[in-house]
């Protein structure tokens, strides 16, 4: 017990990094995912090709590789990121691709009649999206988004590869120093707590959206 309280401060500071990656990725990737998802549905072919290639790259290679590439690879062509910025950049690019695919699926589930009925009421395209389409899409995609959100909590541990100190790394350091698995137990518990909070929040959101069908 005494040992746990000794290592807890370093684990908590690692958790700070984990949470910071988590929140910024969600806050930026979800709206971007909606935009890219809408972009996939346009009739402007060059844009959809570009998006297809982007999604293929992001889903087709490991996030770990993308992190390495952003931090160690991009400087070769003169783009230099700080460690933290590199991590955020890679996470946002990666998660936006997944969210975009999810939103595309949601958009396809909206019947054309909804657009037509908005059109005869003379709503603009933007008003139709904002008031009618996006609320319905969000309700449809919430369970899938929830999956990605939980994944993101755990994926954030990949930032160790570019030398950032997150929760898992803090546990790793303590384990190597004190030659005991105990820190990793605590790390596991903290991850479980984080994902439990996410799960509860997602349930609340789903409940909010269950007012209508």
């Amino acid at each position: 017990m005494h040992y746990f309280s000794e290592i807890l401060p370093s684990l908590i500071s690692g958790t700070g990094m984990t949470l910071s990656i988590f929140f910024w990725t969600i806050i930026v990737s979800v709206p971007l995912g909606i935009l890219v998802g809408l972009g996939m549905k346009t009739k402007f072919k060059p844009l959809t090709w570009l998006i297809d290639i982007y999604v293929w790259l992001m889903r087709g290679t490991p996030l770990l590789l993308q992190l390495i590439f952003v931090f160690y690879g991009l400087p070769i062509i003169g783009i230099v990121f700080q460690r933290y910025d590199a991590a955020l950049f890679a996470f946002i690019l990666n998660y936006t691709a997944y969210f975009a695919e999810i939103f595309r699926g949601g958009l396809q589930a909206i019947p054309i009649g909804q657009y037509e009925s908005a059109r005869v009421l003379r709503l603009t395209r933007w008003q139709t999206l904002r008031k009618i389409v996006i609320p319905q899409v969000v309700k449809i995609v919430l369970p899938s988004i929830g999956n990605e959100v939980i994944n993101l909590v755990k994926d954030s541990s990949l930032v160790y590869v570019i030398g950032l100190g997150d929760l898992l790394r803090a546990g790793n350091v303590a384990m190597a120093r004190d030659v005991t698995i105990a820190p990793m137990l605590l790390v596991g518990v903290i991850y479980l707590l984080l994902t439990a909070v996410c799960t509860l929040a997602l349930h609340q959101l789903e409940k909010h959206y269950s007012a209508w069908r």
């Binding site: 037509e116 059109r119 003379r122 709503l123 319905q136 209508w212």
Partner: protein, 211 residues
């Protein structure tokens, strides 16, 4: 008064509407009848601007207009879809007030007052705060009518309004359409239900499939 002159519509190589001419007088009911595949719904979609025509012209109150592009002027045509297409994420009252507030820029209060008055007229006042999934088919249809009326259309179009209704509800929608006519609203009703069409029509038009 709405006039259609030489309206032609093709899909691929197939001509669906060939030189359709018709006139609807203000405050009258025109019914368009015919078997499935005759182009009734297509004609309605052209009139309401959801489909573009390949030839011919539309004249509303003496002025030529193109329903497919002129959706931003006052040439308002309301549509009650066969499957109603209410917005499931909005309550009944929100369904009705959305377009008046966003498009006509009515204040929320004005739009609500007007919306409630219209809902009341069609016996829906106790449904204002329900979501569409909580309504029966006939109630959904009445909400769809109210939603269209709230935009003060010059013309109200119905696509197969009786197709999903039992005989009692069929009589009810008949009464509503006739009542709206008595209030001076011009209406076009597309239906394959000939007795229904005969009961409400001031004018009837038959369309036949083209081969």
């Amino acid at each position: 008064m709405l006039e259609l002159k030489g309206i032609t519509k093709k899909f691929g190589g197939k001509t669906i509407l060939d030189d359709v001419n018709l006139t609807v007088e203000d405050g009258k009911i025109l019914t368009i009848v015919g078997p499935s595949g005759a182009g009734k719904t297509t004609l309605l979609r052209c009139i309401s601007g959801l489909a573009e025509v390949d030839g011919g012209k539309f004249i509303l109150d003496g002025q030529t207009f193109d329903p497919a592009t002129n959706r931003d002027n006052d040439a308002v045509i309301g549509v009650v879809f066969q499957d109603y297409q209410l917005f499931p994420n909005l309550t009944v009252l929100q369904n009705v007030t959305l377009a008046p507030t966003m498009v006509l820029k009515q204040s929320t209060n004005d739009a609500k007052r007007e919306g409630k008055r219209l809902l009341d007229q069609l016996n829906l006042s106790d449904k204002a705060d329900l979501y569409p999934y909580e309504l029966s088919g006939g109630q959904k249809q009445r909400v769809a009518i109210v939603r269209a009326l709230a935009m003060h259309p010059k013309l109200l179009c119905y696509d197969e309004p009786t197709s999903a209704l039992d005989p009692d509800l069929r009589r009810e929608v008949q009464q509503i359409i006739v009542k709206l006519r008595d209030e001076g609203i011009t209406q076009i009703v597309v239906t394959h239900d000939i007795p229904f069409a005969e009961a409400i029509a001031d004018q009837m038009m038959r369309v036949e499939p083209k081969n």
